[in-house]
Each structure stands twice: as C-alpha cells, then as structure tokens.
C-alpha cells in the first residue's frame, strides 16, 4: 500500500504546488527573499519611503470581477484603484502605507459574505467600496456592521441598504424608491403616456425599481398593460410579441444595459415604436454599442450627471481612458467618488486620533461626517441613514446614437 499512499501524498503536493505555480512565477519569490525587497525598494515612491512606519491601512473594493457581471464590477474596481493612486498621498504623509485590495464577490451572496468575513478578520482593512449587487450587499453589510467596518456603496440603490439605519453603511447613489417614481412622473407628466408596459430583470435592483415605477404610474393614472420579469439575456422575442400586441405608449425596463440594450434593439427590430425608458442601469456607453441606432429616442434616469453637468467628470473620464484604455461608465465614477470619500474620512480619522491608526468605528463616523464633498457625481452629504441628503436626478435622452444622452430634465429630490 505504500505506493498508493505515496501517490495520494504526491497528488496533494502536486495540487498545492500547482496552486502556487498556476498564477505565475511564484517559486521565484521564495528563494530570493533577501533579494526582492531590495529590488522593490527603489521602485517605491520616495515620499513613502521615509515616514512609512506606523503600519498599513487597507482600503478595499468588493465587486464581481469574474462572471458576466464583471464588466460592471471592474468599473468599480478601476475607479477605486484610480482614486487610491491619486489621493493616497495625504495618508501616506501621515506615516501609513496605503494598500488597495480589489476583491471578487462573484455577484454571489455566499461569496460576498465570505469575503466580508475575510475583510473583517484583517485588522488593517478600514474601508470598503462596494458592492455592485444589492442582493450581495445586504447580507455582507450585516457582517460589516458587526465589526463597524465602513462600507459605502457605489451602486446599491435598494432602499433596504440604508433603511436598516446601520451607522457604518452608506451610499452615494440614489434610491430605487426615488428613481422609479421619478421615471414614472417624467413618463406620465412630460411624455403624456397613458399606457405603460414594464419589464424587469428579476434582480433585487431591477425588480425593485420597476415596482416603484409601477406604483407611481398607477397613482398618476396610467394603465399598466404588463409587468414581466425575465432573466433572459439574448432572446427577447417572446417578451416583445405581447408588447407589440399591447402597443403601449411607454416601455419601462428595470435593469442593466446588457439586457436593456438588447431588448431595445430587438424591440425596434420588431417595429415596436413605444418610447423606451430605463433607470441608471442603462447609463453606460455600452448601450449605444449594443443597440446601435436603435438607441435614439430612448430615455434614462440617473444620479450621475453627464460630463456636461459636471466639468470635473470630463477630466476624470479622460484620465480613466488613458490609464485603462477603456471608457469610464457610471459605476466607475461612483467607485471613484466612494473611494475618495473613504480616503478623506480615513485621513480625518487619523488626525482626530492624534496621528494614531483609527479604529473602524472612528472611520465609519468620519465617513458620515464628510461634509459637502465635491465629487465628480455631485456634492455629497450623508443624512442620518447614510443616504445622500439631496440627490440630483437627471433624465437624459439619446438624441443620436452617442453616449451620453442630453439632459432633458433635472430634479432635486431629498432622500425620504
């Protein structure tokens, strides 16, 4: 049996060895342990080399980095990364090494919670920029709450996120229960829609905003001809056929552009002429690429103003593009702003703590204390729940097949 046993051990060793080897030249890192730090030293920023003695501060982005939603999750990560690279200096000057750690939650609540527990266990982690999905953020923030770890969401619009009144959980985006009704008011009051047909993507986000849209539309007296959810990503034929038969004035889509763009394109292909409206999930240059000329005439509501509304955003977009050679989307902008707020809060928390490393609780309250933060997505103040006090909502329209659309209407809405 000796041979067999050896094989078992060998297989185990092989497996572990592979793990270490699979992602690159790991073996090299171990032997020249003495050599590599030397090699690393000169490449470090000269400013950081001197006072960097007081320890490490880790700031984290958590978003899906694998799977189909990673296109969105990566925007958050890249935005946050850029923010850290640009604005970590003040904290490093206070004597800390700032480390940015991107984490992958795979858009799954289980993995999200596991990552949250991992972050909580690492005492250096003081700030979380995440998550993308409300369905992941809700259970994960329960974990953060137990550790008072500050989480600011760049994407979660679900009311539940802040309605729990956790002191450490905030967001800089709007709420579904504001955005959905805003879309409905626009559709019915401005576009004079009498009948609406609502489609959503069966996610916490899409269905949430669609339901708020429906409630408001019914209140305003419009007739809801249909309310359908679908997880389908490609083949919308069977959804569109009843829409065509119903011929509504407005089709509202609660969801994200990867579905919305395809739905829009296939709708137009099938000669459905209804006006198309969606929430900020459609706010991406990708929708133009996906839908092509079909995008013309479509509306979307968003909290992130276009660069024309925020001059800073244009510079940021340029920098983002030059750095990562891809266009920034709204989640990239939010991810960036969230991380900047985090860095500002950490800096003030360190100062308030007499230069010592702040506790997580101190960082959490410093986040809430951030006043009139001028971000590229607007000026941000938090209310007691962690919502931005006044959010500006824009309604934009694609006049031509070009992103972003032009602003049709601007609303200032206080968080409920």
């Amino acid at each position: 049996m000796k041979g067999k046993r050896r094989i078992a051990l060998l297989a185990l060793a092989l497996l572990l060895g592979l793990l270490v080897a699979a992602c690159g030249p790991a073996p090299a890192a171990a032997p020249p342990a003495a050599a590599t730090p030397k090699a690393a030293e000169p490449t470090k920023a000269p400013a950081a080399a001197a006072p960097s003695q007081k320890g490490t501060i880790k700031v984290v982005s958590v978003s899906p980095l694998s799977g189909a939603q990673s296109a969105l999750g990566e925007q958050i990560k890249l935005g946050a990364q850029l923010a850290v690279e640009k604005f970590k200096k003040p904290i490093e000057d206070l004597g800390y090494t700032v480390v940015f750690e991107p984490q992958d939650d795979q858009a799954s609540p289980d993995v999200g919670v596991a990552v949250a527990k991992k972050l909580v266990a690492d005492a250096d982690v003081v700030f979380v920029d995440g998550h993308l999905n409300s369905g992941v953020a809700i259970p994960s923030s329960e974990v953060y709450k137990d550790a008072d770890l500050a989480m600011v969401s760049p994407a979660n619009t679900n009311p539940k996120i802040t309605d729990r009144n956790y002191a450490n959980v905030s967001r800089i985006v709007g709420r579904d229960d504001v955005q959905g009704p805003a879309g409905a008011q626009f559709a019915i009051n401005e576009l004079k829609a009498k009948t609406v047909y609502i489609i959503h993507d069966k996610t916490a986000y899409g269905q949430g905003v669609a339901e708020f849209f429906r409630k408001e539309a019914e209140k305003l007296g419009a007739k809801v001809l249909g309310f359908e959810g679908t997880e389908e990503k490609a083949n919308f034929d069977p959804i569109i056929n009843p829409i065509k038969a119903a011929n509504p004035d407005v089709v509202y889509f609660g969801g994200i552009y990867d579905q919305g763009g395809v739905l829009l394109k296939q709708m137009r292909d099938k000669q459905v002429k209804s006006i198309f409206i969606g929430p900020d999930g459609l706010d991406s240059s990708e929708i133009v690429k996906i839908a092509g000329p079909a995008v013309v005439g479509a509306y979307y509501t968003t909290v992130a103003g276009p660069p024309s509304a925020y001059p800073d955003a244009a510079d940021f977009a340029k920098e983002f593009k030059s750095k990562y050679s891809k266009d920034v989307e709204s989640f990239g902008m939010y991810g960036y702003d969230v991380m900047r707020i985090g860095l500002v809060a950490i800096e003030s928390a360190i100062k308030a703590n007499g230069g010592n490393k702040p506790t997580r609780k101190q960082v959490s309250s410093a986040v809430r204390a951030v006043k009139d933060f001028k971000g590229i997505t607007g000026t941000i103040n938090f209310n007691s729940k962690g919502d931005p006090t006044v959010a500006k909502y824009f309604v934009l329209k694609f006049d031509k097949a070009e992103y972003p659309g032009s602003v049709v209407k601007t609303l200032d809405v206080a968080a409920p």
């Binding site: 092989l14 890192a29 730090p37 694998s66 991107p102 259970p139 959810g229």
Partner: protein, 467 residues
C-alpha cells in the same frame, strides 16, 4: 466492508508503532496549529511574502489533521480526545484569533454535510443528481419563511406569531430533515424510473424549477419575496449566555455567534457522518451499491428498485434540508442567488474530487474545494496584487519581471475561477478515483484500466480486500 482500513490507508505512516504515531500526530497538530495561529507574527510584513497564502495553507494542513487522525491505527480513546481537542478547542481558538478561519471552517462543515448527502445519491446509489441544491433551498426557505416576518404577509390572520422566536429554530432543523426528505420523495417518485443521464437532466431541471419558483413566488402570493430575498431571519437563541457569564466569559453576541454556528455545524456534520457510516454498512447501503453496480442484477436478486432509490434520494435530500435551515439562520438573509446550478455542481465536484462513495474522501473534497475557493485562491490573488502595488520585481534568474507592468486585464482576482477549473481537470486526469477513493471503487477503477499506468502496476495485488 469488513474492515475499511485494510485497503485505503493514506497517511498511515508505514509500520511505525502506535506510540510513535501518537507522538507524530500530536506533533503534526501542534505544528500546523502553531503555524496557522502565529504565522502573522513570525513572518515579516512585506508584499513579496504571501502571508495569507501561507496562513491558509497552514490552515488547510490543520483542517487535514482531523482526516489524518481518522486513519491512524491508534487507540480509539486517543483519537477521540485529539479529535475533540482539534474540533472543539483549537479551532475556536483559531477563530477568536482570526474570524475568517472560523467562517471557512463553518462553510467546510456545511459543504461537507451537503456533500455527504449528495454522496449517498451519487456515490452510493449511483444516481447522478444535478439539482441537489434544490433541497438545500427548500430547507433554507422553510426557516426563512417562518423565521422572519415573511409568513405574516401570507398568514395575515395570525400575523403576530411571526417571526417565530429563535428557539423554534431547533424544531425547524428537524422539520428541515422531514421536509427535505419529502421533497426528495416527491421528486423521486415520478422520475426514478429514468436511468443515467435522463435522471441527471430531470434533476437539473428540478433544481432550476425550484430556483425559478423561489425567484418568482412574490406574486400572486408573496411567499419568497422574489429576488429581493428574505431578511432578517431569526438566529437560534443564546440560551447558554447566562452560563457563559457565570463562567466569567464576557463576550458579546457578535463574538459568540460565529463560534456557536461553527459548533452547530460541526455537531450536525458529525451526526451526518455517523448516519452515512451506518447507512453505508446497512442492508440498505448494500442495496444502493448493488443498484449502482448493476441495476438488472440487483433487481434480479430481489432488491426493490424504486423503493431503494427513493430512500437514497430522501436520505440525501433530508441532509440538505437540515443544512438549508442552518444556512438561512447563519446568513440572516437569503435570496435565490444562493441556489444556482453552479452550487449543485460545486457540491458534485467535492464528491467526485474527494472520491465517490468514500466518506472521508468526500469530507476531504469539501475541505479542498471550500478552502481553495474561499481562502487559497483569494490569498494567491491578494498576494499577486500586493506585489504589483509594491512594485516588486520578480527575479526568475533568467528573466526579470516588474509586477507593476502586469496589465489591469490580468488582475489576479479575476481569474480565480479559471485556476479552479484547471485544478479540476488536472485532478481528474491524475487522480480520477478522487483523493481518497472508496476502497471498493478503487479496486474497480484499477481493474478497469486497460493499460494500467505505473501508479497501478506499482501496487501489489490486493488480497482479502474490503469487500
């Protein structure tokens, strides 16, 4: 199965006398525990040193000590004491030091129990079930429904009863077993006439049906709250709190709950292990194996096909049901995203990776897959990322590579699943029978090989096997 140790005895340490083994295993436990506990103090902090990776490997080795212990021919009492020491004392101690260890250990326990349940269906009875997670979902939603205000939305006349108090949790744990088993029978009755891959696709369909239903049953009657998920879900009460305080432990609930859930999971996992072992050796277990090996022959020998298969289905499903209840309480929040086909496949991968039909193998499979996904791959990508940010230059002797030149497209965190895929393929190629195969299956595989590789020819013929 007279003597399960006679054939597969990995980690047995040759012909060493029992006392040497005892000393060896104690040393092993001490060293791995010590490493997992104190690596973060020992190792210098530098981006080049993959601290968390080493930590998670040490932790994996520590988790493995329970496995190794199992195989040691040392006195039962010593085994028991060491086992209790490892599971009930050292692990929570590690958990207090680093909460993530405990989370991983808890997940390992949950998945081990799930994998053991699936092992009954796939490994013992040979029925390929691709929708196993459906039963897990049934259990989870059972408690989520009654353990939150959700039930009050439906049963409006007795709304004030809900959410049920945390103490009901234990009743629902038992109910989870029953309801899971019932769901297994309900699915099994119509479909168990099917064979092989027809059964696989029907179970896959069933898994999807359950997921789509929980995703959509927020109308016409709001049973599951759809994609929004249900929260908050009640947790079991800390009835021992006064006792702890009397003993002088002044811990907050948020510190106790992880340990509490860990202990609950371990308890249930042990019960599951106990049952599967008994089942494995029982007449019904033999009937399952007979069906797996040859349905026609088994039927001819008088094994009632449908009933036997149904028991396998029900037994497997009931474990999943109970684990689901626990999962809901642990997570506080559940939504349909946790019950996708990928979850079923993950559990199946644990069963097959560890060794179908082999109880220790399946547990090891759960340990490997869970730590790989939750710890090792993440630690690996964190490390590569840290090196990149610190601007480390890798020195391979012949080539030097500055990590910061790594393009963002190759962000290590993005390729964890890819590495997992590679590991799966390699494992299957180099060890198709699993890491710790069941003795019977190993014989079968080696005998089936038309051209035995060196690995097999090196093995002396097995005499007096475990059959």
């Amino acid at each position: 199965m007279v003597n399960r140790h006679s054939i597969s005895m990995p980690f047995s340490g040759g012909k060493a006398p029992p006392w040497a083994r005892l000393v060896g295993i104690i040393l092993y436990i001490a060293i791995t525990f010590g490493l997992a506990y104190s690596l973060e103090d020992i190792l210098p902090r530098a981006a080049e040193i993959p601290l968390t990776l080493f930590e998670s490997l040490a932790f994996l080795a520590f988790l493995g000590s329970a496995m190794i212990l199992y195989y040691q021919p040392i006195p039962k009492v010593a085994k028991l004491i060491l086992g209790i020491l490892v599971l009930l004392l050292l692990m929570p101690a590690l958990g207090l030091r680093n909460g993530y260890y405990l989370e991983v250990a808890t997940q390992v326990g949950i998945f081990a129990a799930l994998a053991l349940g699936l092992n009954i269906v796939v490994g013992f009875a040979g029925l390929l079930d691709l929708g196993y997670v459906a039963f897990y979902a049934v259990g989870a939603y059972l408690w989520a429904f009654f353990g939150s205000t959700q039930a009050g939305l439906v049963l409006t006349s007795i709304k004030d009863f809900f959410p049920l108090g945390g103490e009901w949790f234990f009743l629902f744990l038992c109910l989870g077993v029953i309801v899971g088993g019932l769901a297994g029978i309900l699915l099994g009755l119509p479909v168990l006439r099917l064979r092989g891959d027809y059964l696989a696709i029907v179970t896959l369909g069933f898994g999807e049906v359950i997921r789509v239903m929980v995703n959509n049953l927020d109308k016409p009657l709001n049973l599951t709250n759809g994609p929004q998920g249900i929260s908050p879900i009640q947790r079991p009460p800390l009835f021992f709190m006064p006792l702890l305080q009397a003993l002088g432990f002044d811990l907050e609930p948020r510190q106790i709950y992880p340990i509490y859930f860990y202990l609950l999971v371990i308890l249930i996992a042990l019960i599951v292990i106990f049952f599967t072992r008994r089942l494995d050796d029982s007449p019904i277990g033999r009937a399952w194996i007979a069906i797996r090996e040859d349905e026609l022959a088994a039927q001819a020998m008088g094994v009632p096909l449908v009933r036997t298969k149904l028991t396998a289905f029900a037994a497997g499903a009931s474990f999943a049901g109970a684990m689901g209840v626990l999962f809901a309480a642990k997570q506080i929040f559940i939504n349909p995203e946790s019950f996708t086909l990928m979850q079923s496949i993950g559990v199946l991968a644990m069963v097959i990776l560890g060794g179908m039909g082999s109880i220790p193998g399946v547990i090891l499979g759960a340990i490997l897959v869970t730590t790989l996904n939750l710890q090792i791959l993440k630690a690996l990508s964190d490390w590569l990322n840290a090196m990149r940010q610190a601007g480390t230059v890798l020195n391979l002797g012949f080539i030097q590579y500055a990590m910061k030149n790594l393009p963002v497209q190759l962000e290590p965190a993005k390729y964890e699943r890819m590495v997992f895929g590679i590991v799966l393929v390699l494992m299957m190629i180099f060890r198709p029978e699993g890491v710790l195969p069941a003795s019977r299956r190993k014989l079968e595989i080696t005998a089936n090989r038309e051209t035995p590789p060196e690995a097999v020819s090196a093995t002396p013929p097995v005499t007096g096997g475990g059959e």
